[in-house]
């Protein structure tokens, strides 16, 4: 599903953050990307999620060479193929849970009415058990609730691949377990999950672990 071939990333021609990385991810995999701080984990996740582009090398997603995609196509991939979950949640402040979760639907090309959008939001919120928070401002939520909103938002367009960057980094043990369970459940429904984490215990629960060391691919088991 995802194939990276000699992927290298550097900013402004400085030292390479990722060096000649090559690996592939199959559909339905649950992969943990681990490594020390600054090893390039988040950068790799951003590159896979089309938030950034490789300086050299190639990235194929579902057989498509992403190097030649224009902004519209990249945006479509981000909107429909990928669901993003971030450590800092990245919710839009001062807005409600509903407004945050519905946003990817507005950027989608699917022509669906507001009522259907609303139903989809309700469904997703229900799946993460925060249906009653729909009209609450996100600023008033706890960390765990915020992350569940972020998960609901990432799932609203029913993406095939979930990209989670330290999803449990700001959560307590209980909420971390909840988030992992949710991701695990999603994986079982056939979604590909890619998690960036420091947490070895979390990584060990994934199907595969991709270990980065100073921009190099150390292990992929």
């Amino acid at each position: 599903m995802i194939v990276i071939d000699n992927g290298t990333k550097s900013y402004d021609g400085s030292q390479n953050i990722l060096k000649d990385i090559s690996f592939s991810i199959n559909s339905g995999d649950m992969i943990a990307i681990t490594g020390k701080s600054g090893s390039g984990k988040s950068t790799l996740l951003n590159l896979i999620g089309q938030l950034d582009t490789f300086s050299s090398g190639s990235l194929f997603i579902k057989g498509i060479d992403t190097a030649h995609l224009n902004d519209k196509h990249r945006s479509k991939l981000r909107n429909e193929l990928f669901g993003f979950i971030f450590q800092s949640y990245y919710l839009i402040p001062n807005t409600s849970v509903l407004e945050n979760v519905i946003l990817p639907l507005y950027y989608s090309n699917k022509k669906i009415s507001y009522q259907i959008k609303l139903e989809l939001v309700k469904k997703q919120l229900k799946s993460v058990d925060i249906e009653d928070l729909m009209y609450k401002k996100v600023d008033l939520l706890s960390g765990g609730e915020m992350q569940r909103v972020a998960i609901a938002r990432s799932l609203i367009n029913n993406p095939e691949i979930i990209l989670a960057d330290e999803p449990t980094g700001n959560l307590d043990k209980y909420n971390s377990q909840n988030v992992f369970d949710t991701l695990n459940t999603l994986n079982k429904t056939g979604k590909t999950i890619i998690i960036v984490t420091h947490d070895d215990s979390l990584a060990s629960k994934c199907d595969k672990i991709l270990r980065l060391n100073n921009g190099n691919l150390e292990d992929y088991i």
Binding site: S75, R78, N79, Y90, I92, P93, T95, Y107, S108
Partner: protein
């Protein structure tokens, strides 16, 4: 349609999420609009008031000379009656000045507030236009010979005769005028004419002012003397040559041209007709108009620069939000449209508030100070409003474009 709905929803969420910050932007735009509206109102008011002043010239002449303003009444009935004397000076000192040359009035013409002279045309003595429409009650109009030799004869009107002599039977009576240079002249009354309509109107109008006072105390005594006599009496006929200009206005175009001819013939004054005033005004207006437009354009550009700054600052502080939106699938076009749409909404809201506030303040000011100088010209305000929105959109291109070019991964790393 659905795209617009989407855009509205997205922008709504965007504004809602930045409501506090954007309130400052709106306040800033409101102030810009208020400044623009006030400038437009004051420029329009200045123009329209000037125009009104031009339009309000009414049946009289003004001589502007050495910063002294003289009123010269043009009596349509008798065509050629001038009053050169500044009324206030005559009233207070019994001295009147003609181009800074003082003249006194003899005591037997007590209460004279104004002195009238008629102008005859020596090159065409038979032209008796001066008294064509005046009805002679007693005596006679002076003859051609009187005009030629400058006889000291005077024609007075009914009111003047009654005022000085208590009767209209004043033929052969004398009136003395003495100039400060010592020249003394005795005038023989050769005719009494009916009051002019101007005189009658004046008596009628002034009688309403103070009912306890005799209206005759206010009105002008009228003396008509031959032009040559008038020249001799005043030592020199050139005294008016120094006059800078006469602003002339009358509804009676025929009489106007008649008088103009006379004035040109004697090279008495440089004169300006109402038409000329309008021409000058129109030319000035064109200059002012260009100046006004330039000023408003500069103001709009300043406001728009302000808008650009606010929007650029807004974008800088909203980079992470833009990154989140891009991560969720927003295209560059989506971001561009969102910011442009936001800009339009801000301009509409702040335009509405700013213009309304400004209008309200101006109307309130006009009401409190009873100031007719404030003129609310809605057309120009509307043009300004629309042009500002157009300018705003044009000037919004740069910030919106910058917003759309923000790198997602970098913006998400921002704390």
């Amino acid at each position: 349609m659905s795209s617009i709905k989407k855009l509205i929803h997205i922008t709504y969420i965007s504004i809602e999420s930045n409501i506090i910050f954007l309130s400052f932007a709106i306040i800033s735009f409101v102030i810009s609009y208020m400044l623009l509206t006030n400038t437009t109102i004051s420029l329009n008011s200045s123009y329209i008031n000037t125009y009104r002043q031009v339009q309000n010239f009414d049946d009289h002449l003004l001589i502007l000379n050495n910063s002294v303003t003289y009123d010269i009444f043009y009596d349509i009935d008798s065509h050629a009656v001038f009053d050169y004397s500044p009324i206030s000076e005559v009233m207070s000192n019994q001295i009147f000045y003609i181009d800074n040359v003082p003249y006194t009035i003899t005591s037997n013409i007590k209460g004279v507030s104004n002195l009238y002279f008629s102008i005859g045309n020596p090159s065409n003595i038979n032209n008796t236009y001066s008294f064509d429409k005046v009805k002679l009650l007693k005596g006679s109009i002076w003859g051609d010979n009187d005009d030629k030799i400058g006889s000291s004869v005077v024609i007075i009107d009914e009111f003047t005769s009654n005022y000085i002599y208590g009767t209209t039977e004043s033929i052969g009576m004398t009136i003395n005028l003495i100039s400060t240079s010592g020249k003394r002249e005795k005038f023989f009354v050769c005719g009494v004419v009916e009051n002019s309509s101007t005189q009658n109107q004046l008596i009628k109008d002034l009688s309403h002012l103070d009912k306890n006072k005799n209206p005759h105390d206010y009105v002008k005594l009228q003396f008509y003397i031959p032009y040559y006599t008038y020249e001799q009496f005043l030592d020199t006929p050139d005294h008016l040559i120094d006059a800078n200009q006469i602003l002339f206005y009358t509804h009676n175009k025929e009489e106007l041209s008649h008088l103009e001819e006379s004035l040109i013939h004697y090279n008495l004054v440089n004169y300006v007709t109402q038409q000329r005033i309008e021409d000058i005004f129109n030319q000035n207006f064109k200059d002012d108009y260009l100046e006004t437009i330039s000023f408003i354009v500069i103001m709009i550009i300043i406001s728009c620069t302000n808008m650009i700054n606010v929007t650029l600052f807004s974008i800088k502080s909203r980079r992470q939000e833009i990154g989140i939106r891009r991560a969720l699938g927003a295209t560059r076009t989506n971001i561009y449209l969102q910011f442009t749409f936001e800009m339009i909404i801000f301009l509409l809201i702040s335009g509405g508030i700013g213009i309304s506030l400004s209008l309200f303040i101006n109307m309130f000011q006009a009401y409190v100070f009873n100031n007719s100088f404030i003129i609310l010209d809605l057309n120009s305000i509307l043009i300004m409003f629309i042009s500002t929105i157009i300018f705003g959109i044009i000037f919004g291109i740069i910030p919106s474009y910058k917003a759309s070019k923000i790198k997602i991964a970098e913006s998400l790393r921002l704390k």
